[in-house]
Amino acid sequence: MILMVVEHANGKASKSACELATAARQLGGEVAALVLGSGVAPVAAEAAFIAGQVLVADTPSLAEYDAELWAAAVAQIARAGEAHTILIAASRSGCEYSPRVAVKLDAPLLEDVFSLQHIDSVFRAERYTYLNRVTERIEAEAPLAVVTLKPGAFAAAVPATEAAEQFDVDLELPQRRLVVTARTREKSERISLTEADIVVSGGRGVGSPEGFAELIEGLANQIGAAVGATRAVVDAGWRPYAEQVGQTGKTVQPRAYIAVGISGAVQHLSGMNKSKVIVAINKDADAPIFKIADYGIVGDVKEIVPAMIRELRK
């Protein structure tokens, strides 16, 4: 059995769930989707259209994510269902609890992969390493592997026409040890960075927080894109950390990445260099970002971006 863990937020399955379903279908065989949480009936109902069966652990103690609880739950279900492959989205939380699952089950962990094969008990996958600069091919021979999938690397599965059966599961869960005393959710009406088709990102070159709002948000709103930022912009307090793209922020791979006023430090490039089309607008013709750009303009972002917005409105 392939066990895929359905990530969800605000009562909806995340896009990653459909990507996991695609990887699972490609591997072939029975697929069970696992939904963990509290009040997750709508999520389970969605999951029923992308897997052969849905296992639901709907309990108040799972209302908030916790790495130890999630790992315990996934390992128990995997054991009970004799899973040979566990698929988890390589989100920050997925990357946090998946190693625990691997240790519990004495299994190899194939992390953040963008391709996956399973032939005769050998798992083969590809992933990026060295700040997204190297493509690595890895292999593990084991009866069971834990695999986290790179967001956006697999196409979203088309939902089935009939819903699969749902089963409630009972779990023995440990006590939470990490106690959350305060929570800041950076809520945005905008599409999330890792799920967006287009990302507009700004660097220090936009000049100020106001410049960022006018140019980056203005352009993003015009084309329905997500907003990204460089570390320098986040460190300066212009933008929230949730928007940071790069080594210590998010890694994105959209259809188009529009970099405005970004020179292109290696740490930033590592978060976006696999984007399908890269567009750069910067005053410095020698900026490293132009070396990986498909399209670009050398010029003043404060003139060019408003001109683009005007053009798009036409």
Binding site: A9, Y130, R133, E139, I281, G296, I297
Partner: protein
Amino acid sequence: MRILTIVRQVPGAEESLRIKDGKVDLEGRKLVIDTMDEYGVEEALRLRESGAQAEVVVLAVGPARVEEALRTALAMGADRAVLVETGVALDAISLSNVVAQVAAREEADLILLGGQQADWDSQALGAAIAERLNWPQAAWTNLLAVKDTTLTGRHDVDEGTESFELPLPAVVTTQQGLNDPRYPTLPNIVRSRKKEIRREAFESFSVTAKLKIVGEEIQVKQRLKMILDGKDAQAAASRLVQLLREEARVIA
């Protein structure tokens, strides 16, 4: 308390990489302590300096060259070091086994390490160590304090941040903003030469790799590099929008 920090050696971010016989060739590359591990060493020193009765032990697992990373951490101020020398290419899950065994031998109360390994592009090591020891973990931590046997801090999660409390023993992985690592001063470099590096035989841990790296390559995507002159902002902007609509077909 005893704080164990882990340092790994990675190519400096500005180093160019090359491939030899299907593997990344680090021969002659400038190798540095992974920045995120460096945050861990610095934080251990700050906890010690902030009054926690702490001994700071730094651990490296890898080829003989990783001794340089230990020397740097000792020069920053770590009290002593443990070196497990091996040429085996360990993955995060197998390396966590070595680290957990060292932590148990050392009776460590807190393990600090990078939130992500810059060569592996992996976030797995901290959580895997915590699981082996059956400890809790706070990942991506950008603020940390210790009082008696409780850690308090703040860390980044999928969308936003959380303030947390965590009982010791625990694993904490670092995030940017946690601190600004110090440079070793000359007197401290001199002093560090007398500090102990204890060597442990890799074989004594009975650990084998869980993953095999079959090949590594640098795939450079060919980019169009169609760069326009923006002196006439409106003309350049119009042309770019047209290209994105009609040629790249990424916007409507």
